[in-house]
């Protein structure tokens, strides 16, 4: 069994998609909450014209967190011609629905309305946009924000999703490569959850990691078409470290900067502390060292031990050096695959 096979099993353990069983209840809640928000907006005279999922579920990069809640990032969109000047008005409507549905800690944050469901491991972020033509504008502002701190801010949420999902620049096996990229995003997130304390970990934003990975992704597929996630991880981390995301802040400290590639082109880590940047830099460096060690290691068991040290117990270590695979046939998950074969 190859190290790639081990990565594949690890990935199967940590991945989370909207259709997964583990997510079923959260999805049901999301659907029913969305129905109520739609009704609330309609009766207030702001009919919702579009709704979509944002975040990791839209880019197929979600992972199960061993402790924290499931996240739902739901976007609702109203017609710009019909929108109130004050965007907070709409966020209040969302807040009202969430409070009525028994969420705790429901509050209006600057970019969204956020809440936790009481009886379910579910954290929900709802963002509101207005749309005129093709332009989306985000409802920005807190409950008590004055006129200067609330606005309809130009935004490109769908372009961001497209950017992350885009595989058109890969030459050959584009599907394999984009899937490898997304597995790497999941590995990175799990590494972050394992290696950072909860407080700092929450500040190492998933979107920041995802964008760095997307920009520096180095696919690794051998000439027989076999993917190699370990090599790709190492090469991608190496490329991240060799680029200019980390700015020297003196005294062995770093500020991390990752810019959105779409409107509003802001630095994702604009408000992050030097401590966050420094920890991220140092842990990336250590990650690179460990990945190099894993690559140089001949023993599969030792390789897995190193990787378990990085990604936690979900990355399994075989009991023996060469696990006996006899009788353990792993079949394809697909029922049918279209092929190009003929004769």
């Amino acid at each position: 069994m190859s190290i790639q096979n081990r990565f594949s099993k690890f990935h199967d353990k940590i991945k989370l998609g909207r259709e997964d069983d583990a997510y079923r209840e959260a999805r049901a809640k999301d659907n029913s909450i969305l129905d109520e928000i739609k009704a609330e907006f309609r009766s207030a005279g702001y009919p919702i014209i579009e709704t979509f999922i944002q975040g990791s579920l839209s880019t197929y990069t979600g992972i199960k967190h061993p402790v924290d809640d499931f996240d739902i990032d739901r976007a609702v969109v109203i017609d710009a011609d019909n929108a109130p000047d004050n965007p907070v008005e709409l966020k209040k409507l969302v807040l009202k629905v969430l409070e009525k549905r028994g969420f705790k800690n429901a509050r209006v944050k600057k970019p969204c309305v956020t809440a936790d469901y009481i009886n379910l491991s579910l954290h929900i972020d709802i963002v509101v946009y207005r749309k005129g033509g093709e332009q989306y504008e985000l409802a920005v502002g807190k409950l008590n924000s004055n006129e200067q701190n609330r606005e309809w801010s130009p935004s490109e949420p769908k372009k961001l999703i497209e950017h992350i999902n885009n595989s058109s620049l890969f030459i050959g096996s584009a599907d394999l490569k984009i899937k490898q990229f997304k597995r790497l995003v999941r590995y990175f997130k799990r590494w972050r959850d394992e290696k950072f304390g909860q407080a700092i970990g929450k500040k190492v934003f998933s979107i920041g990691l995802t964008l760095m990975l997307k920009e520096q992704f180095r696919p690794a597929i051998d000439n027989n078409g076999k993917v190699d996630d370990l090599q790709s991880l190492r090469d991608t981390v190496g490329a991240i470290m060799a680029s200019n995301y980390f700015h020297w802040a003196g005294d062995n400290k770093y500020k991390v900067n990752v810019y959105l590639p779409v409107q509003p082109y802001i630095n994702v880590f604009e408000n992050s502390s030097i401590d966050t940047g420094t920890q991220l830099y140092n842990k990336f460096k250590l990650l690179l060292t460990k990945l190099d060690q894993a690559l140089e290691e001949d023993s599969l068991k030792k390789q897995c031990e190193i990787l378990q040290g990085l990604f936690g117990n979900d990355f399994e270590v075989p009991e023996k050096e060469q696990s006996n695979n006899a009788g353990k046939v792993a079949y394809s998950n697909a029922g049918v695959v279209g092929t190009s074969q003929g004769a």
Partner: protein, 574 residues
């Protein structure tokens, strides 16, 4: 130009003159070889598109020389010197002086060998015996006597006359009765005998010569050569000739002589003896006076010579091979395996040959409506006289359940159906059946083709080529493919049930030839381990159709090489 050539040859040291020969100014080069003064005349004018010939003046004064054909021109004897196979040289026609210089060097070198090394000269004369013999043949005897003779022993065979209404084909030749009974029952050779519409034209006697002398030259007497040859036969052969065949009287005899030339190479050549009245075979000069002799071209064909002359291997004749799927790829495989000498070929396919198949199949139009496997078995036997191809109108799994797979030396599967191929592999595993299998397929748009050799109990199997490149699980498509899965690669002109993969006959033939080569390597014992091989075409058509290609395609640089098959994640091989 002649003066430029003369200047060039003179400058590099040759003694050249221009002389009037046959009313034309000719360039003549004087050279000395083994103390003999030799004159070589340039017999061609620029531009030179082949190596210009020099002819040897007074050719008869040097004795019999190998590779020199003497002829008469303008009252004198000249020798045409053969220094090369005309097609094997690329001529610098832009530099005629250099071409003449090179040709002259080759002529001088050859003549030097002939004149200074009599043993070599004699061996070469024997080596080219048949070429010289052909020069003794009448030009109107252009069709050779076909002779199916297995052994070079004294024997009597029947000669059958050609059919007068046949311009081409086996039946348009005089033919010596086939001596072996291993022909396909539907080969022309067999059928032309079985039909009974060919008349016996006379008797052929096969006479082995123990000590061959050079073929008679253009000016030598064929009669004298015959008598000399008969006289030189060992007494036992002469006695046998006399006793066995001396009592027979006839007006015509075909004598087929055979002898070793050089390095155990064997030559065969024929004489036709005709007399006005029936007489015994003449064995003396006196008795030969009533007979007219004519040298004949002959084409010997037996399994050994014909298969090997075609590049086939006799070692493959006892191999038992099944080709399952005789579509555009499989028909090429079957054809090439037969051409390689595989006699026992089993062709398996449930499909009917349709008019849609014509432009990428080897079968003729006349087979439309026939089972493909049957039609191909007939076509192969019709082309390859010693083939005994058989056929089954079965699909792969029916064939597997109805036949003993282990009775075959090799199974070649060319059905282009990954589901059936994997199912069959599982069937072999479940039944502990050990047989070597090649799976062959191509992909559309001329992008390439693949073959996998799965040798039982060696590293690597078909399922190695189906290991999912991401997860290591058993996949559903081959990881060797050049086209990404789950795309619309089928074309449809007539709707449901009429879809087809777009590729040309060149692609299927290429895949078939690649697979046949792999099969031959395995059958010959040159490839003992499981392996895989692919050929890669260009991506123009695929890109135009918006087809996405794999990483393997863009990085593949080992077309037609035999690569290891084993995958460490294959659950069977691990």
């Amino acid at each position: 130009m002649q003066s430029k050539i003369k200047q060039h040859l003179t400058r590099i040291g040759y003694d050249c003159i221009v002389s009037d020969i046959g009313g034309f100014p000719r360039l003549v080069v004087n050279v000395t070889i083994a103390e003999s003064e030799i004159q070589l005349m340039l017999a061609a004018e620029p531009p030179f598109h082949s190596l210009p010939e020099f002819v040897l003046i007074d050719a008869d004064s040097f004795g019999r020389l190998a590779h020199v054909t003497v002829y008469q021109y303008s009252g004198a004897l000249f020798g045409a010197v053969c220094v090369n196979d005309p097609d094997s040289l690329s001529i610098n026609f832009e530099q005629p002086q250099l071409v003449v210089e090179e040709s002259l060097k080759r002529h001088v070198a050859l003549l030097e060998m002939c004149l200074t090394n009599p043993d070599w000269n004699n061996k070469e004369l024997l080596r080219e015996f048949y070429s010289d013999w052909l020069r003794k043949c009448r030009q109107d005897d252009s069709k050779p006597l076909l002779a199916n003779i297995e052994k070079p022993i004294l024997q009597r065979l029947v000669v059958y006359a050609p059919l007068s209404d046949k311009e081409y084909g086996i039946e348009s030749h005089y033919m010596v009765h086939p001596a072996d009974n291993s022909f396909s029952g539907i080969s022309d050779i067999h059928l032309s005998m079985m039909k009974g519409n060919r008349e016996a034209a006379g008797i052929a006697l096969v006479i082995p010569i123990h000590k061959l002398t050079p073929a008679p030259s253009r000016f030598d007497s064929l009669e004298q050569w015959y008598i000399d040859t008969i006289t030189a036969l060992p007494t036992t052969i002469r006695n046998e000739l006399q006793q066995k065949f001396g009592q027979w009287r006839d007006t015509t005899y075909w004598i087929v002589f055979t002898a070793n030339t050089v390095n155990d190479d064997r030559t065969w050549f024929a004489l036709k003896l005709v007399c006005k009245s029936k007489k015994a075979l003449p064995l003396t000069g006196e008795k030969l006076k009533d007979w007219t002799l004519a040298a004949l071209p002959i084409r010997l064909f037996n399994q050994e010579s014909t298969v090997q002359r075609g590049g086939g291997r006799l070692s493959l004749s006892d191999k038992k091979v099944a080709v399952i799927g005789v579509g555009s790829v499989g028909c090429e495989i079957a054809h090439k395996l037969s051409a390689a000498g595989v006699k026992s070929l089993t062709l398996v396919d449930p499909d009917i040959y349709e008019i849609n198949n014509l432009y990428r199949h080897v079968l003729e139009q006349g087979w439309v409506g026939a089972p493909k496997s049957f039609a191909l078995s007939v076509a192969i036997q019709r082309q390859f006289p010693w083939s005994n191809a058989t056929w089954y109108p079965y699909d792969l799994m029916k064939f597997a359940r109805n036949q003993n797979m282990e009775s075959y030396d090799l199974l070649v599967i060319a059905i282009g159906n990954p589901t059936q191929e994997r199912l069959f592999k599982q069937y072999l595993l479940d039944n502990n059946t050990y047989v070597a299998v090649i799976n062959s397929w191509l992909e559309g748009f001329g992008i390439g083709g693949h073959a996998v050799l799965d040798v039982s109990e060696s590293k690597g199997c078909l399922l190695c080529s189906y290991v999912c490149p991401e997860s290591g699980a058993r996949g559903l498509v081959s990881n060797m493919n050049f086209i990404e899965p789950n795309q619309v690669t089928m074309k449809s002109i007539a709707g449901c049930g009429e879809q087809f993969i777009s590729y040309g006959a060149a692609s299927s033939a290429q895949t078939g030839v690649m697979t046949a080569n792999l099969a031959i390597r395995y059958l010959e014992g040159k490839q003992t381990e499981s392996c895989k091989t692919s050929w890669k075409g260009d991506d123009d058509d695929a890109v135009n159709e918006g087809i996405k290609l794999t990483h393997r395609f863009y990085n593949f640089k080992h077309s037609l090489e035999y690569l290891p098959l084993t995958d460490e994640d294959c659950d069977v091989c691990s």
